[in-house]
C-alpha cells in the first residue's frame, strides 16, 4: 500500500508538473457574455433585424490569427470569416447555407452587372449615399482602387483580375492605374472592360479582394489597423496574434435606409481572442465563457463533443475543400514525374482519415465532391512497394527534402505522417513545423529556402471548378502570396484553364473541367488526400437553429444570436 501511495504521489506530481509546463502555451480566459442594451453611436440607428434576442457581446475564439486582417490581401477561411461582416464587395454571396449561400446578390452595387460586348464589358452602379464606418462616403473610385490595391500588395487574389484591360501591365509597373476600369463619381457608374470574356467574373466581383476601401488606405498590410468598414460591423481593435473586436458600424447602409440583402447581425459587439489551445476553447464553450469558436474541436475531443452536443450546440458541416500535399516541381526531386507519382502511391488517404479522426473523407483528386465537374477517379491506389520502385527508378534515393506543415492539430500530425512516408519510400525528409499564423505567408513566398513539399488545403471561394484548377495555372505563380505552392506550370494545361475560364459553366465545360482534373493528376501535381468536414460549435445560450454556415464564409457571424 505504501509503495502504491509513493508511486501514486510521483505520478500525481508528474502530472501536475506536466500540466503546469503545458500551461505555458495556454492563453487567457474570457469573461461571460450575454445580451445587453448598449447604444450604438453614429448618425443612423443600426438596429438589428430578426426576431431573436438582440444585443449583447458575443465572445469567440480562433486558434490562430488570420493571415491578414485586410480585405485585399487575406486569402484564408479564417480571414474571410472574420471580414465577412465588415467589408462588402459590389456583389456578394447571400447569407445563407448550402446552395443558396452560393447565390450572388448585389452588395454595394445597386444590382447585378449588365454584361455586354460579348461578355467583355461589365457595368454596375454603386448604391448612392453609402458611407464607411468613419463617415467618409464610399465612392465608385474606391472599387477601382481596391482592384489596384490587390496588385499593389501582391495579393494572392490578384490573378482573378488580370483579364481586366491594362491590369497585367499595372501588375508589372504598379503605376498609372488600371485603364480597363472606368468610374463616374456623380452617377456611381463602374464600367469594367475585360481583355476576353471571363465566365467566372461575377463570382470574382463577389470576392473580398475587391471590397471597396478608401483611396487613402496605404498599399501595404493593414492588419493592425484595418480600413474602415462598409458592412454591418467595424473592427474597433485589432491586435495581430492576440485578437480583435467588432462593434456595430454606425453608418451601415442597411441601418440607414438602403436595401442591401445582407443581415445586420444580432449582437452589438463581438470579441475574438486567439486561444491556441483548442481543448481550452471547447471547455470555454461548454462553460459559456466563449459563445463560438472558429476551429472545430480538437481531434482528441471531436467525437465526444459531437456525441454530446450534436443538434443542440454542434453541427458537422461538410465543406467543398481539398487537403493535399504539394510538391515543388521546379526543384529536385519533385521535378521528376516518377517521384511525384511515387508520393501519390505512398500517401494513404485511409491513414489520414484516421489521423483527422474522421473529419476528412479520403480523395485523390483536385476537384472535391460537390464541385461542378467532379468525377471520381483514383489513379494512384495505395501501393508502397510501387512507390519504392518508382523512387529507385528515378535515381533520387536518399535525396534530402524538407516537409512543411503548420502546428495546428491535426495538420502537424499529417505532416509528421507524410515525413514518415517520404522516408519510407527512400527520400530523406526533414519536417519543418511553422506557426499557423504565418504558415501560408512563408510557403507562399517563393524565395523561402527549401520549399520542397508540404501540407496545404483549399476551400472553395465560389462554386466553380476554375476556383480549384486556377491554383495549378503556371501563369499565376507569384513571388509572394503565391497559391500555386507546387509551382506547377504545364503550358497546354494552362491554356485549357484560360480557355475554360472565358466560358460560362455548362455541362460541356463541366466535362472538360473533369478531364482537366484527371490530366493534372496524371502529372501528379499534388498528392490530394481528403475533403474536410468542419463544424459549428456554440455555447448553450446561442441559437443554433438560426446560425448559418455559408459555403464560402463558413460561420456567418451576423447570424449568431443569444437565446433568452
Amino acid at each position: 500500500m505504501k509503495r502504491f501511495s509513493f508511486f501514486l504521489l510521483i505520478a500525481l506530481i508528474a502530472a501536475v508538473s506536466a500540466v503546469a509546463l503545458a500551461a505555458c502555451g495556454g492563453g487567457g480566459s474570457t469573461t461571460g457574455s450575454g445580451p445587453s442594451t448598449s447604444e450604438p453611436e453614429g448618425e443612423g440607428t443600426p438596429a438589428a433585424e430578426g426576431e431573436g434576442n438582440e444585443g449583447g457581446t458575443l465572445k469567440g475564439a480562433y486558434t490562430s490569427f488570420p493571415d491578414y486582417m485586410d480585405p485585399q490581401i487575406s486569402y484564408t477561411a479564417e480571414g474571410w470569416t472574420a471580414m465577412r461582416p465588415v467589408y462588402v464587395p459590389l456583389l456578394t454571396y447571400k447569407a445563407a447555407a448550402e446552395a443558396e449561400g452560393s447565390e450572388i446578390i448585389p452588395g454595394l452595387a445597386k444590382e447585378l452587372p449588365k454584361v455586354t460586348n460579348g461578355g467583355k464589358t461589365y457595368t454596375l452602379f454603386l448604391r448612392p449615399g453609402l458611407k464607411y464606418s468613419n463617415g467618409e462616403p464610399i465612392k465608385a473610385g474606391d472599387f477601382k482602387y481596391a482592384v489596384e490595391r490587390c496588385f499593389l500588395t501582391n495579393s494572392g487574389g490578384s490573378p482573378f483580375y488580370t483579364d481586366i484591360v491594362g491590369a497585367e501591365e499595372f501588375a508589372k509597373t504598379k503605376k498609372g492605374g488600371i485603364p480597363g476600369i472606368k468610374v463616374n463619381e456623380k452617377t456611381g457608374e463602374i464600367v469594367i472592360n475585360l481583355v476576353s470574356p471571363r465566365g467566372t467574373f461575377n463570382n470574382e466581383l463577389a470576392l473580398m479582394f475587391v471590397a471597396p476601401v478608401p483611396q487613402s488606405t496605404p498599399d501595404e498590410d493593414q492588419s493592425a489597423s484595418p480600413p474602415p468598414a462598409s458592412g454591418p460591423y467595424m473592427i474597433t481593435k485589432s491586435q495581430p496574434g492576440r485578437g480583435w473586436t467588432y462593434e456595430r458600424n454606425p453608418y451601415w447602409a442597411k441601418a440607414n435606409g438602403k436595401e442591401i440583402e445582407l443581415p445586420s447581425g444580432h449582437v452589438d459587439k463581438i470579441e475574438i481572442e486567439i486561444q491556441r489551445n483548442q481543448s481550452t476553447q471547447v471547455n470555454d464553450v461548454e462553460s459559456g465563457k466563449l459563445n463560438w469558436i472558429f476551429d472545430p474541436p480538437p481531434t482528441d475531443r471531436y467525437q465526444e463533443v459531437k456525441e454530446k452536443f450534436e443538434g443542440t450546440q454542434f453541427t458537422a458541416e461538410p465543406t467543398i475543400s481539398t487537403y493535399y500535399f504539394w510538391m515543388n516541381q521546379t526543384e529536385e526531386p519533385f521535378d521528376n514525374l516518377k517521384v511525384r507519382e511515387a508520393v501519390n502511391y505512398a500517401v494513404d488517404p485511409a491513414a489520414l482519415e484516421r489521423i483527422y479522426t474522421g473529419q476528412i473523407v479520403g480523395t485523390q483528386q483536385i476537384l472535391p465532391p460537390g464541385m461542378p465537374g467532379y468525377k471520381k477517379f483514383e489513379l494512384f491506389p495505395h501501393d508502397v512497394a510501387k512507390a519504392k520502385e518508382l523512387i529507385a527508378e528515378s535515381g533520387v534515393k536518399d535525396k534530402e527534402v524538407t516537409v512543411w506543415t503548420d502546428s495546428e492539430s491535426p495538420n502537424n500530425d499529417a505532416g509528421t505522417y507524410y515525413e514518415g512516408v517520404l522516408n519510407e519510400i527512400g527520400l530523406k525528409a526533414e519536417l519543418k513545423i511553422l506557426n499557423p499564423d504565418n504558415y501560408f505567408t512563408v510557403i507562399g513566398n517563393t524565395s523561402t529556402p527549401n520549399l520542397d513539399t508540404g501540407f496545404a488545403d483549399w476551400f472553395q471561394d465560389y462554386p466553380h471548378p476554375n476556383d480549384f484548377l486556377f491554383l495549378l495555372n503556371g501563369e499565376n505563380i507569384q513571388s509572394t502570396n503565391n497559391q500555386n505552392f507546387s509551382q506547377t506550370n504545364v503550358k497546354p494545361l494552362n491554356e485549357k484553364i484560360d480557355k475554360l475560364a472565358t466560358e460560362l459553366l455548362g455541362p460541356q465545360q463541366e466535362t472538360e473541367y473533369a478531364e482537366l482534373d484527371e490530366e493534372f493528376m496524371k502529372e501528379a501535381a499534388w498528392a490530394p488526400y481528403g475533403t474536410r468536414t468542419l463544424s459549428l460549435f456554440v455555447s448553450e445560450n446561442i441559437n443554433l437553429e438560426t446560425a448559418i454556415w455559408n459555403p464560402t464564409f463558413e460561420t456567418e457571424l451576423t447570424s449568431l444570436e443569444f437565446t433568452e
Partner: protein
C-alpha cells in the same frame, strides 16, 4: 593527491575538500566518531577525494538517487535494443492503421475516433508496452526511451558546454582582472539580463526555422545540437559568476605567489594551480546544471523551440501528449514522470555531492561541534 596539498597553507582555500579533514576533532563523541569515520577509522585520512567519497558513501539517499539516474541512463542507452528486439519498430514509425492480434482478439492501434491503444505491457510481446501516441500510433515506450536519449544528451552535453565556457571565462576574468574582467563580466551581464527561458526561446525559434550557419558550423534546424548549444550558452553566466568570485579569492593565496615566484606562466597558474582548487565547485555545479538543462529542454521543446518533431524528447512528448490530454492523460504523465524522476535523482545526488565536497558544510558541522581547529579552516 590534490595539487594544493603539496603546498604550505593550501588547506586554507575554499573548495578544498581536504581542508576540513585536516582539522582535529575532540568534542562530542558522536561527531568524533563521524569524523573519524571520514578518516577511515584506521588512522589513515586519505586524500580529499577519498574523504569526499567516504562521505558520499554514507549518504544512502544520494547513492540511491545516483542509482536511479544511472538506471534511467542505461535504459535510454538501450533504446535501440528495445526497439529492434522487443517493440520491432522505430521511434518515428507510424502504425495508424495497424491492428494487434492478442489471443484471438483484434485491437486497432488507433481507433477511428483517433484514440490510441493504451499500455499493453507484455501482452503483445512488448509491443506498445506503454501504448501508442495519439493518431499516429507510434510506440510510446520506444519514443520514451529515444526521447530520454535526446533529453539526457542535451542535459549532459549542454552542461559540459556551460562548464567549459564558464571555467575558461571565469579563469580569464578572475585571474587577469582589469579590462579583461570588465569585458567578460559585461558580456555575462548581457546574457544575464534576459530571463533564461525567454532568451532560449527566442534563439530556439530563430534557429528552429533556419538552422545555424556560423562560419564552418552548419547545423540543420532539426539538429539536437541547436537546443544543446543554446542551453549551454544561456546558463554560462550562472556558473561563471560564482567561479570568478572564487578565483578572485584564490589568486591572492600564498601558493599562487609561490608559483609566480617560481616563474610559472599565466596558463600554468590558471590551469594547474587554480583550476584544481575549483574542481569540487565545478563538479557540484555541473551535476545540478544537468537537471536544470533537462528542465529547460523540456520547456523549449514543449514550446516548439527545442527538439524538433518528429524526433522525440520528453519535452516534445509532453507537447504531443497535451493534444490528447483529455482522452489520454497518460501520454503526458509518462514523459512527465520520466522528467521528474531524472531531475529529482540528479538534484538529490548533486546535493549529496555538494555535502561531500563542500568544506563549508564541514565548517558548519565542526563549528556546531565546537571542536574544529580554526587554523585549518580557510576563509568562508
Amino acid at each position: 593527491m590534490s595539487p594544493d596539498s603539496e603546498k604550505p597553507g593550501a588547506a586554507a582555500v575554499p573548495g578544498d575538500p581536504g581542508a576540513a579533514a585536516r582539522g582535529t576533532v575532540t568534542g562530542d563523541p558522536e561527531l568524533v566518531a563521524e569524523v573519524e569515520g571520514e578518516s577511515g577509522g584506521d588512522g589513515r585520512q586519505g586524500g580529499p577525494w577519498a574523504i569526499a567519497w567516504r562521505r558520499l558513501r554514507r549518504n544512502k539517499f544520494a547513492l540511491f538517487a545516483l542509482g536511479v539516474f544511472l538506471l534511467i541512463v542505461i535504459c535510454c542507452l538501450l533504446a535501440p535494443v528495445w526497439a529492434d528486439n522487443v517493440a520491432h519498430t522505430g521511434p518515428n514509425t507510424t502504425h495508424t492503421l495497424e491492428k494487434l492480434h492478442e489471443g484471438g482478439e483484434v485491437k486497432e492501434v488507433v481507433e477511428p475516433s483517433g484514440k490510441a491503444i493504451g499500455p499493453q505491457f507484455f501482452s503483445a510481446g512488448g509491443r506498445f508496452f506503454l501504448g501508442a501516441d495519439g493518431h499516429l500510433g507510434r510506440d510510446e515506450m520506444v519514443r520514451l526511451l529515444y526521447g530520454g536519449r535526446s533529453s539526457l544528451f542535451i542535459g549532459i552535453v549542454a552542461a559540459i558546454i556551460t562548464t567549459i565556457l564558464a571555467v575558461v571565462l571565469a579563469l580569464l576574468s578572475g585571474f587577469y582582472g582589469g579590462w579583461t574582467d570588465t569585458v567578460i563580466s559585461r558580456g555575462m551581464d548581457v546574457i544575464w539580463a534576459f530571463p533564461v527561458v525567454l532568451l532560449s526561446l527566442a534563439l530556439g525559434i530563430v534557429l528552429a526555422v533556419g538552422g545555424l550557419e556560423l562560419g564552418p558550423i552548419h547545423l540543420k534546424s532539426s539538429s539536437l545540437w541547436i537546443p544543446t548549444l543554446i542551453i549551454g550558452v544561456v546558463y554560462t553566466p550562472y556558473m561563471a559568476r560564482p567561479l570568478r568570485g572564487e578565483i578572485f579569492a584564490l589568486r591572492e593565496k600564498e601558493f599562487i605567489e609561490a608559483a609566480v615566484a617560481q616563474g610559472a606562466g599565466p596558463a600554468r597558474i590558471m590551469f594547474l594551480e587554480i583550476l584544481p582548487n575549483l574542481m569540487s565547485t565545478i563538479i557540484v555545479f555541473f551535476t545540478l546544471n544537468i537537471a536544470n538543462n533537462m528542465l529547460l529542454e523540456a520547456v523549449l521543446s514543449y514550446l516548439g523551440a527545442g527538439v524538433q518533431p518528429p524526433s522525440s524528447s520528453w519535452g516534445t512528448m509532453i507537447s504531443e501528449g497535451f493534444e490528447a490530454l483529455y482522452s489520454q492523460p497518460i501520454l503526458t504523465i509518462i514523459p512527465g514522470t520520466a522528467i521528474l524522476l531524472t531531475v529529482l535523482s540528479v538534484n538529490v545526488f548533486g546535493d549529496g555531492l555538494r555535502d561531500a565536497l563542500d568544506p563549508k558544510s564541514k565548517v558548519r558541522f565542526e563549528a556546531r561541534a565546537g571542536t574544529a581547529d580554526p587554523d585549518a579552516i580557510g576563509p568562508v
